[in-house]
Amino acid sequence: MPEEATAQSGYHSEIMELNLGPHHPSTHGVFRAIVELDGEIVVNVVPHLGYLHRGYEKTCENKHYHQVIPLAERCDYMGASSNSLVFCLTMEKILDVKVPERAQVIRVIMAELSRIFSHLFWLGTHGHDVGAMTPLFYMLREREEIMNLFELTAGGRLMPNYLRIGGLIRDLEEGFVERLRDFTNHFDQRVDEYETLLTKNVIYIDRTKGIGILSLEDAIALGVSGPMIRASGLRWDIRKTEPYCGYENYDFDIPVETGCDVYSRYLVRVAEMRQSNRILKQALDRLPEGEIRARKAGVIFPPQEEIYTKMESLIHHFMLVVEGLRPPIGDFYQCIESPRGELGCYIVSDGGPRPYRLKWRAPAFVNLESLAKMAKGNFFADLIAILSSVDIVLAEVDR
């Protein structure tokens, strides 16, 4: 039906529904949205999720606590060690286990490497979405170095599966510390190179400044966390407000911008990469000698060498693998600052070897809710830029 025929044009207009389908190079995974367009202006975005829903929470209810760690890492595959970190921290709190100092420092190294890893990929694909294809190829070079470091820890390039409840699975390999030191020495110049490509680029600023405004009160009301809320002006980082894993001992800044737009989120993430490098250098200097896993018979795996020589360790190891550990009855919520925001793990334990309920508070899932609010009134091409600035990982959104 004709809506409104203007006197000059004689056109009638109606809202067009466009399917931004699950198979799309710019949606960073299988994300589907029905976009309602008035010409080229976005009127509404309705996301349809679930294309990567794998029943993660139900699967975890049927696995032993140690078996959940590889599953958890596959939730946010870009910053995999953050996921296993939050799960291990939750379990260590429930079991009341203190992780030794060396393991804590190495965990910080893994978490910050994951953050750089995730932000580098975001930088490359975000640049690609707005048309700057060069950063993608350059960030792959750094990511290759980080993946080689991950491979040195426990063998997996993307999802190293290195953390365990109580510490780490094994100590660092020969040569890891030297390679990491090389990486931290040249990483700052690399970030400078990336900044020369985008930060003062007139085309990039045109595409991203003033686009996708998310005011601070909207962000808090919508539960947004991480670099998105820091780009809206709130100086909130869980590593500073509720420190875990020894983060209170490191000296780093929290980058905050007040622009509330896509450009501010870019600036925040690039600055965060520099701060992560700073933390890595301090962690390398602090790295103490010591054990890499706590000792608590019956719940933590005994050291690998003892299994071959001591009978009790062998029995404990066998019982842990076959029967699983039994934590006390209770529930606990632990959150960390993942590259995307507040990543939380809520575990309800009924005393048995399997989690009674594992609820994964995924930051990408919650941040994606703000897409509709940010995209209204912008052009369709800006919708792609805004979507990439949310930095979603569909495996985390859909679990």
């Binding site: 999720l49 929470e57 009301a221 529930d331 609820k359 809710e369 679990r399």
Partner: protein, 165 residues
């Protein structure tokens, strides 16, 4: 404010009956409140200047199957101004016919929208006055609630078909 003080604030404002149970485990308190008062209690928790729980981390469900009442809905709150966290839960039972129901808190925290949609489809809980009660993650042709304890892990051919209907 520490956890017990927050519990006392709730009890002093809504009466001792508002705190049905309070479990402290590893320095985190979970307070159980009556399901019909959840909206008032949440509004108080958000708007009181000393509590100011303006950030809702998640709304999740727990199925306690053979136990009745069957479902718990857990609200994890945090205050960005006062830097404290709190957890409240309601326990609702499933009636003979139909689904368990509890008020939606989207009017207080808009972020609860997607959390409640996911909890509703996974457990079969209705959130009253929810602005958009569609399924979120599951396919539209599935009529089951997977996170219930009596639902098998692998699903069944009839209930969870691989191909669309």
């Amino acid at each position: 404010m520490n956890q017990e003080q927050i519990q006392e604030q709730i009890a002093s404002r809504f009466g001792a009956g508002a705190v049905q149970a309070a479990v402290m485990f590893r320095d985190q308190l979970t307070v159980q409140v009556p399901a019909d008062q959840i909206l008032d209690i949440c509004r108080f928790l958000k708007e009181d200047p000393e509590l100011s729980f303006d950030f809702l981390s998640f709304v999740g469900g727990v199925d306690r199957h053979p136990q009745t009442p069957r479902f718990e809905v857990v609200y994890q709150l945090s205050s960005l101004k006062q830097q404290h966290r709190f957890r409240i839960k309601v326990v609702i039972e499933e009636p003979e016919k139909g689904l368990a129901a509890v008020d939606s808190v989207t009017a207080i925290w808009p972020t609860a929208d997607w959390h409640e949609r996911e909890t509703a489809e996974m457990f079969g809980i209705t959130f009253k006055n929810h602005p958009d009660p569609r399924k979120l993650l599951l396919p539209d042709n599935w009529k089951i609630h997977p996170l219930r304890k009596d639902f098998p892990l692998y699903g069944t051919e009839e209930d969870t078909p691989d191909l669309p209907a």
